[in-house]
Structures are given as structure tokens and as C-alpha cells.
Amino acid sequence: MKRLLLVLFALAAMPAAAALKVFATVPEWGALAREIGGDQVQVFTATTALQDAHHVDARPSLIARARSADLLIATGAELEIGWLPVVQRESGNPRIQSGQPGYFAAAAAVRLLDVPARLDRADGDVHAAGNPHIQTDPRNFLAVGEGLAARMAQLDPANAAAYRSGHAAFAERWRSQIKRWEAQAAPLKGVAVVSQHKAWPYLYDWLGMREVAALEPKPGVEPSLAHLALVRDQAVTSRPRMVIRAAYNSARPAEWFAKEAKVPAVVLPFTVGAPEAADLTALFETTVQRLLEGL
């Protein structure tokens, strides 16, 4: 028993490994941290592209990883409200508590859309600060990346230069890619679409697309047959060109609507790690490609 305790204390007292330990709640921020930090960071991602980051359990494995993290990157805007506070509190790690330099909320760096005019749960799963799905607009990665690089430099001053140059290289490449994607996506401007979940306001804002309806009657409420039929009937006049869902959404509502309204169902990766979205670049390559195929 004594020996076990000694080993445990030795483990606890071990100096943190050279790399900055990053705990990212969702894959896109994990990927961005890797782009900026390169070999200087060791990234753990709490969820995958096939999971809904709003409905995750505060699993023991997450608490264990948060325990040793130097930097917690969350989306914020209440996306992780159902589980992240428990992980933070149970971790016994003061560095990643909200308000500390080790807590970085990506949503704080960008302009949020869909800020509700009134807060009432009768309106479904509304977020007081605005829609948290900011990663569907590539321009947001520039703002988030800038803040993130500064934060990483603050936490790990020894490698500050590396983070700054990592971010500069990423930002330059990203800007030229955004131009290319925007050029490719020109035909999508003004196109009317139906979304399964209100997860895409930033994407539509970027490409100038129009959301004419959502299959979910209220955000986070499963589509009912009655509501689906209503959206189908409205589609006669609103004439959407496609119905869009994320890879983690259930396939049935979008497929039902696609068949009924005779429009293609487009499955977008939503985040890094979904099929054909191995990294940030592939995420938007695939997104733009799938949308163009849907026309």
C-alpha cells in the first residue's frame, strides 16, 4: 500500500511533459490547435464528428484527461453546458476552470448569429448567447485561431514564437483557401435550402444561401410527422433546392423529406473526423463539393 502511494505521489509530482496538453471539446478546435501548435501540443478531443456535442456524458475518461490538461478549448455559447461543467469541477484542475487562462471559449472570438430575441424553453433548445455552431464558416477559424494562438503563447511562453509562426502560416494558407472555396461556391448564392437542425446559419451567412425551413419543429426537438408534412407543403411555394443534415443527425427525416419534395438530401461533414473530412481543409472542400453536387 505504501509503495503504491509512493508511486502515485511520484506520478503526481512529475513535471508536465514538454508539450502543451490541450483538451478540445469538439474535433474542429482540436484540429485548429494542431495547425497552430504543431509538435508543441498534445491534443485530446472529447467528442467525434458522429456525436452531438450537446448530448455527451461526463464520462470518466473525460475527467481523467481534463485532470492534466493545460488548455481547455470549448466552443462555449452553452454548447457543452450539459457535461463540461461537471468535467471541469471533477477534474481537480484549477487551470482549466472558466475564467482562467487555461479556458478558451471559441465562440467569444466571433460574432454570433441567431441570438434569440426572447429566452423561453417553449422555443426549444435555444442558446442565450446565440447559435454555437460557428465552425461551419471558415472565416471564423481566422478569428478563433488568432485568439487561440495568443492564448497558447501566454500559457507556454517558451514556444510563443512557434505558435505565432504556426498561426501566421495557417492564416495565410486559410485566406487563400477561403477565396478559392468562395469562387467555387458562387453558384450557391441565393439558393434556398431546408435544414434538418438549425446548425448551419454561419455556413449560409458565408455562402449567401437561404434557409427556408427546418425539419425540427424547434431546435433540439425531434421532427414529428405533422411538422414534416407542413414543411413539405410549404416547399411547394418556397422551392428549396436541397435538404441538409449533419453526419451525426438521424438519416430518416432528411431522407423522407428528400423523397417527398423530390430534392436531393445532402449530408455535410459538420466537423473534422466525419467521412471525407480528415482535417480542416478537407472539411470545407467536402462541404462545398457536396453542396455543389446538390444543385
Partner: protein
């Protein structure tokens, strides 16, 4: 008035006026200085006022630009963050939530009275010393469940506070939890102090509204009646490993059976527990947690009511040592780890309690054999439950639970030595209580749940109680974060 006093007055008047005359030149200089200062301040104030007016004009201009921008943004069906909420003092309001619960119960047996005993004796599980805890359902037909008010917030960068009050259907307010916990300790250490649910086992720490069934499992009812709380302190440590390993220790005034610290008047630690939890993921689809816990207390004159051989109500008591061991396991599965559509949860806990000390029969001396009589008592009691809950489509779940208590392995000195007959301590007669429970529930959102539950309860000899619940549990207010 005499001359002397007039002279004195005149002298005083002269004295009083003297310094004024002397300081006249100084005063003039001072007045000029003040006048200059006043002038310069007036100039400065004028300048400031002018700047203020300019700033206001600019602000109005900015606001109107912002408003134009906002209306443009609205036209584009997008709202910007420009209209942030004002940072008033009430922006520091804590997270407040209320749990509302109510049910309709249908039971084939009277839930309040014991059909196997004397009229007036409360319903209890046969074969072990009664825990005295609350048993659901409390009564037949319509019942209000416990209404729970919970308030929590970070106190400062170092502490967080949580307060939970439970209001019973009988209009009694109880402090369910009221604790502070540390936020700022490093190395995986966390300390909680105040009134809190013990970290032993798996379900013990969970509030009733998060349970998967409408009532506590039999072992929790029998061993902790039905939840172990402390007024004390808890220390937890999370190991710096990828495998989740958490060690914890608690000390304090234990608030429920098998302790009776509430009535104790002594210094010291009173009761204590230690626990260890390990857990992790297997692939993306599976996650698990297992734990072992140990609780030790020394109940002193812990009383319970029973009837003796002549059906007279008597009060008996136990004093001695009571140790409880709990092993728990929980496993969750969801395809690709995405629990929104379908998921499955299995959990099981095993309990063992060992008590040794003295049992006193009839402390008030009202029974037929004539008490009080005291002799040695040793008992080892085990029990377990296992349950599975299957969400087969969004919002809908099915669950089944089986729970059972083993017949106690007891040696009762009063009976073994022939002082009393077995019929004088009827609650200790051997029996194996068991129960099967099935439920289906519907949760249209994270905040509401309506459940239909059926239980076949065989916790009393010769009686099978068919119990049906229709139960709603809803929460309003802050979006709570739930534990694994």
C-alpha cells in the same frame, strides 16, 4: 452686570478681533487664490462638459450606425451580438432550478401499513433491522413527489456553492444538500464541505429525479434508507493517468441509517467512508465505471419499532459497530458514442453490511416479557440490484430492474440464549425480499420526462404487491449538467 464682567467681555472681543485684523492681508491673498482656482476649475469643467457632449453625439452617431447595421442584419435574417445584456448586479444571479414531480400510484396492498403485522405498524422490508427511510409510494392514488429547489454558483475563483432544498408533499422543507467545494486546488484534489450525498456506490450521489426508476432499489432502501448523506467533509483525488482513477474519503455526521449520528453528542470524526472509482472507454461506443466503497459507523441506541410475541408495540435498540461495503459497476453503450438516437445502460451494485454489538429489547419496558433486556447481536446482510435501460428511439426508453436481499446471517443473543422467543423479534425472522420492476418513459426534451412503471414487490412474507406508477419529473430553470 458689573464693570468687571464688561471689561472681561471687551477684552475677549478685542482678543477675538485681533487675529482677524492681523490676518486680513493673508485672507485677501487666499481669496484671490481661491477665485483663480475656481476660474481654472470652471474652465476645466466647461472643457469636460464640451467633451461629454461631443462624446454623446459620437455615441448617438455610433448607436444609430449600429441600429442601421442591426436592422440591416435583421433584414438579412441575422442578429448580431451588438445587443449584449447590460452588466447589472443581477447578472451575478446564481443558477436556479426547480424540479417538479408528481405521480399516481395504484398498489394492490396498503403501502403505509404492514399487512403481515399489527395494525398501525409501518410497512417495512422483512428480515433485517428497519432502515426507517422513506419508501415510495407513500400513499395510493394521487401524490405530489418531492419538489426540489437548487441554487448554485461559483462563490469566487476558489469556491463553488450548491444549495438544494427539498419540499415534501407534507409541506416540510428539508436541506437536502448545502455544500461548498474547491475549484482552485491543484493536482487533482477537490474538497467538499457541508451537507452532501456520500460518494460511495454509484447511485448514492444522484438526486432522486435523475434515477431511472421511480423509487430507490431495495438494497439502497434497506442499507441506507435510501441515500447516505453527511454533514461533514469529503476529500477526493483524481490520478494523473489516462485511465480514470479517483480516490475519496469522507468524515462527518452521517445523516441516515445505519448511522444515528444525528443524536450523538461527542467530539471526533463520528462516521467515515472511503471509496475508489476506476473508469474509461472501450472504443468510441462503450464507457464504463467500477467502484468499491466502505462505510463505517458506530450507532448508539439506534432504535426501531416492532411488536413482541403478544402483539404489543415495543421499541428496541442497537448499539455497536456497523460496516458496509458496496461494489458498483456501470456500463454505457451507444452506436458511435452518439446517445441521441439509441443507447443502452447497464448498472449493478452489491452491498454487504456487518453489524456487531448489543441489541436491547423493549427500551421502554412496556412489552409482555418485560424489558429492557440486552444481549449480543451479530448480523451479516447482503443485497444487490441489476438494471438495464434501453433507449430504442429518440425520447423513448425501456427499463428492467431486479433487486434482492439475502436472508440475514444473524446471531441474536436474546433468542439464542432463550431469553426471548423468536416471535418477540419478528422483523428478524428469515426472509429473502425480492422485487422486479419494469418501466417505460418518454422524454420529449431534456427537461421533461413521463414514466409508467410496474413493480412486483415481494418484500414482505406471503404478500405480493403489484404497484403501478404514472410519474412525471420535470425541471425548469438552469440547464443542469449531469454526472456519468
Amino acid at each position: 452686570m458689573n464693570h468687571a464682567s464688561i471689561a472681561v467681555l471687551a477684552a475677549f472681543g478685542l482678543l477675538a478681533s485681533l487675529p482677524a485684523v492681523a490676518a486680513d492681508a493673508d485672507l485677501k491673498a487666499l481669496r484671490e487664490e481661491i477665485a483663480q482656482m475656481k476660474k481654472s476649475y470652471e474652465q476645466r469643467i466647461d472643457a469636460l462638459e464640451k467633451r461629454l457632449v461631443d462624446t454623446e453625439k459620437q455615441a448617438i452617431a455610433v448607436r444609430s450606425t449600429a441600429e442601421t447595421a442591426a436592422s440591416q442584419a435583421q433584414a438579412a435574417q441575422a442578429t448580431s451580438m451588438a445587443s449584449r445584456q447590460p452588466a447589472a448586479a443581477n447578472a451575478f444571479n446564481p443558477e436556479i432550478s426547480v424540479i417538479l414531480s408528481g405521480m399516481y400510484n395504484n398498489t394492490s396492498q396498503d403501502p403505509r401499513h404492514d399487512p403481515t403485522g399489527v395494525a398501525g405498524r409501518e410497512r417495512r422490508i422483512q428480515g433485517l433491522l428497519p432502515s426507517g427511510g422513506e419508501f415510495n409510494p407513500e400513499a395510493r392514488a394521487w401524490n405530489l413527489g418531492e419538489s426540489e429547489l437548487s441554487i448554485s454558483a461559483n462563490i469566487d475563483p476558489h469556491f463553488r456553492g450548491t444549495f438544494t432544498a427539498a419540499i415534501s408533499p407534507a409541506n416540510e422543507i428539508g436541506v437536502e444538500e448545502a455544500y461548498i467545494q474547491t475549484l482552485g486546488l491543484d493536482n487533482g484534489i477537490g474538497i467538499k464541505a457541508g451537507r452532501f450525498f456520500s460518494g460511495i456506490g454509484y447511485v448514492n450521489e444522484q438526486h432522486a429525479h435523475t434515477w431511472d426508476f421511480s423509487d430507490a432499489s431495495l438494497p439502497y432502501q434497506a442499507f441506507f434508507g435510501p441515500q447516505l448523506g453527511y454533514d461533514g467533509v469529503q476529500l477526493k483525488w483524481v490520478a494523473p493517468t489516462e485511465l480514470f482513477l479517483e480516490l475519496g474519503a469522507e468524515f462527518g455526521r452521517a445523516l441516515s441509517f445505519p448511522a444515528n449520528d444525528g443524536e450523538r453528542n461527542k467530539n471526533g470524526l463520528l462516521s467515515g467512508s472511503v471509496f475508489a472509482h476506476v473508469g474509461g472507454d472501450i472504443g468510441v461506443a462503450n464507457s464504463w465505471r467500477a467502484g468499491a466503497s466502505y462505510f463505517a459507523t458506530k450507532p448508539h441506541h439506534r432504535t426501531y419499532d416492532d411488536v413482541d410475541g403478544s402483539n404489543t408495540l415495543v421499541t428496541n435498540s442497537f448499539s455497536g459497530k456497523s460496516n458496509t461495503t458496496v461494489l458498483d459497476f456501470v456500463w454505457k453503450w451507444a452506436p458511435e458514442g452518439n446517445a441521441t438516437e439509441r443507447n443502452f445502460k447497464f448498472q449493478s451494485e452489491w452491498f454487504r453490511r456487518h453489524e456487531s454489538g448489543d441489541l436491547t429489547y423493549d427500551v421502554d419496558g412496556v412489552g409482555a416479557p418485560g424489558g429492557p433486556l440486552t444481549d449480543g447481536f451479530r448480523s451479516t446482510q447482503t443485497g444487490f440490484y441489476a438494471q438495464g435501460v434501453w433507449q430504442f428511439m429518440p425520447a423513448w426508453r425501456l427499463g428492467y430492474r431486479y433487486d434482492q436481499l439475502a436472508s440475514a446471517d444473524a446471531s441474536v443473543g436474546l433468542i439464542d440464549r432463550g431469553t426471548l422467543a423468536a416471535a418477540d423479534l419478528p422483523i428478524l425472522r428469515d426472509y429473502t425480499p425480492k422485487r422486479s420492476t419494469a418501466m417505460v418513459d418518454w422524454s420529449p426534451s431534456e427537461f421533461s420526462r413521463i414514466r409508467l412503471q410496474y413493480a412486483r414487490d415481494q418484500t414482505r412474507p406471503g404478500v405480493t404487491d403489484d404497484q403501478v406508477w404514472v410519474h412525471y419529473i420535470m425541471s425548469l430553470g438552469a440547464h443542469g449538467a449531469h454526472k456519468f
